[in-house]
Amino acid sequence: MGRKGFLGAFEELVLLAVIRAKGAGYGMTIRREIEERAGREVAIGAVYATLDRMEDKGWVVSRLGDPDPDRRGRARRYFEIRPAGVQALESARRSRDGLWDGVDLDSAVEGGL
């Protein structure tokens, strides 16, 4: 799976947002989705840089829509997940689930919360 096989935390958020948008997600909707779910302000540049990197890895694919007069003639760049992206998410989830297994947060810190 390439030299950057591991999925970063932010990458995971972005990928999940792409999936939730079901192919209709473009930069701003993806950004807003993460913002709403994660509860913190997210810079659009960070989203794009991540998407662009993941496109290079073959996890997502993008296409440009039609130019929109509402956006002063700028097109929207729509993103879709690719099988490789799904695999990356799956393996990330698997390894995390493996680690979560048997972890009791209540007793994690001595003396309890």
């Binding site: 701003m28 950004r31 960070a46 794009y48 840089a49 662009d52």
Partner: protein, 865 residues
Amino acid sequence: MSPGPKPPRWARALLERLQLDGDDGALVGDLDEEYRRHIHPERGRWRADLWYLRQVVGSAPALAGRVLATWLDGTRGVGGDVRVAVRVLRRRPGFTLSTLGTLTLTLGVATSVFSVVHAVLLRPLPFEEPERLVRPLPDELFYLGGQDLEPFAEGMTTLESFAAWGRTLALFVTDEDAEEVRGARVTWNHFEVLGTAPYLGRSFGRDDALADEAIMISHGLWTRRFGADPDVVGRSVRLSDGTATVIGVLGPDHVPMEYDWEVWRPLPADPEARGGNALAGYGRIAVGRSTDDVTAELRRVLPAVWAEGGYEATDEDRAGMTVETLTTWLLGDVRVSLRTLFGAALLVVLLACVNVSNLVLAQIHEREREFAVRAALGGRRLRLARQRLIELLLLCGVGGVLAFGAARASFGTLTSALPADLPRLGAVSMSTPVVVFAVVVTLGSVLVIGVVPTFARGDRAGVPTGAGKTTGSLASRRLRSALVSIQMALAVVLVVGAGLMVRSLTSLRTVDPGFDVEGVQTVRPAPSTSSYPDEAALTAYYDEVFRSLERLPGVQTVGGIQFLPMTPGGWWGSYRPEGRPVDADGEGLTTARRIVSGSYFEAMGVDVVAGRALEAADDAAGAEPVVVVNQTFGAEAFPGTDPVGRTVEMNDGVVRIVGVVADVRQSDLRTTAHPEMYMPYGARAWRRMHIVVRSEGASAPTSSLIADAVRSVDPSVPLLGPRTLREVVGGTFGATPLVTGLLTLFGAVGLLLGAVGVYGVTTQAVAERRREIGIRIALGAESRRVASRTIALSMRSAVVGVAVGWLVAVTASRLLEGLLFGVDPLDVGTFLLAPAGLAFVALVASAVPAVRATRVDPVRTLREE
């Protein structure tokens, strides 16, 4: 819908700088879209602005990091791309070698030609404000006498300053050897008017003209004769007519008024001491005056000066008084030749580029699958384009370097093929501008070659077309056909140019000069005034020289003339034929006057048409003054009647015509004869005679034997030559043989590249249609018809090209006019043969692959599919 309020402009501009590959403004568009949602209907847009700024500030580092990463990734790829390119090129040795060969040859020739053009034409003359230097009286027929100089120079107020020169010879003598060099007697201000300083020592001063002691030498002579000794200034040298002190050495860049000058000596200030030297000159135009002003003044001043000496200028004389810039005078003839060559060389480069373009196009076609596969595997379009560009740069770069090396190596050959009187030939070198030219023309080739295939890009499928091999891409085939047309057009232009030059040279070579060139050697002694002060001494000297030469075994006849045909110099006089009244306007007829001695006509092979040649008895003191005239003279002086026996009145007496000889081309092969009158040496002794020696082919004496025979009379007399008459005549061809040779080479290259183009496009068309051809033949089509259909397709683009090229050639041939002799620029033969020849070559080039294709077994072809 109106876009509404806009976010802070600078923030937006920053984001646009950091755009990602393939983003096309989507990110900025997203922010614009959302920005408006952040505008509060009551509280205004400041919150939205703040949000926008936070977004920009938060985005910038991430985007910058991504852009940088992409860029690093990209450059990391270049090394790999170069390796891939090398591998690709090595895997296709045919393509690589033919491309490299084409580029090396054409770029090399272009670079060589440019090096000459640059050295000779483009560099300004090494004078101060050379554009203000003019040469009044560029025609050799007009000159100033020694007495005329001061009145003339003072009269010409449109010239800020005027300098004059007269040719001279200097004989350097040591105890061991003697060396004769050419040079000039110059007015003391010669170098001052030019605005050039010597390399060593000083220029002439006013005092140098009072005492004949100073001498200046060229850089070449300094190196050759004085071993580049820096202490040469102040040294005394022995000359045949006394001693002189070297006061200065000129720089290697100095351009003398005549190419072979190596010494300069002062022209005496005293007009009486100048002798009969014919002076030429040049001047610096006064500020604010034009060459027209100078011409107008010249036509006023010179006749006035001549009138002082008792000569009335005719209207014809006045019309001939013109002014040329010194640059034109020094470089004039050469310019047309070099420009033509340079233009042709660039055409050849263009042709080569089109040719390579066509090859590249074929390559792309062949590699369509490779590129399609790579595109499908995620290779970005830009990246693939970069890969192709790198291949091209590599090819052209290597070609350019090889070409540069070839140009450098061919220097010696090229410069020796150029006429020796080409100014500044020694300065031809690989200077910085030549290197820059080579680089620019190489990059230009990359551009031409690289741009053309992009026109074919539109139809390239993004997916490998599996079984779709039978149909070639239509657009790419059309483009290739168009390229073939361009190649053929360029080839026609080059071949027509070459054809015209070849015909011109042929007719120049077949011109009958009026004398027999073969078997004649010529030598010119220069007896000094101190050793041979009078006519008697000169006559005795030449008589002795003739006898000495006649004694040589193999020598048949010896004669002499003061101005040998095809050499510079002339003496003119006006005359009045007997029985013709003096014209009302005082205008007489003019003739060239020649002094001949010995058996000149026999030695030169000039036919006596009527009467007799001059004889020894005519030289005797008290003999009747007789002359021989040429046919043009006879026709002009005594139209329709026999001139023999008639008399002519000259300004120095009446002479009787005893014979008529054939016309001789005197100045060069291109110029027809003027009226000429030959008088015997006894009537007027001339100091420097050209001696012509005719000998029998096999037993002809060597030139050193001839020189020895002349020296045996008086070893102190300097000699010019000996040269063969063939060399003398060949010298007047100038750059014509070289221009012809190179244009012929260019034409041949054009022909070859044109043929290769047609061959290539037909081969490809055939390969693409293999299946179709197979099916047709399997179905019983006659192979001849199949082949002729293929040929017809290829010939269509070839013929279009030939037609276009023919039209271009019709327009462009006028540029060659100045170089042509005896051939019309629209010479019917050339304009018929060249396109016909090219069309034939195209036919053969397309027939070979077309016929071969029909020989293929149809069953096998079909099975392959």
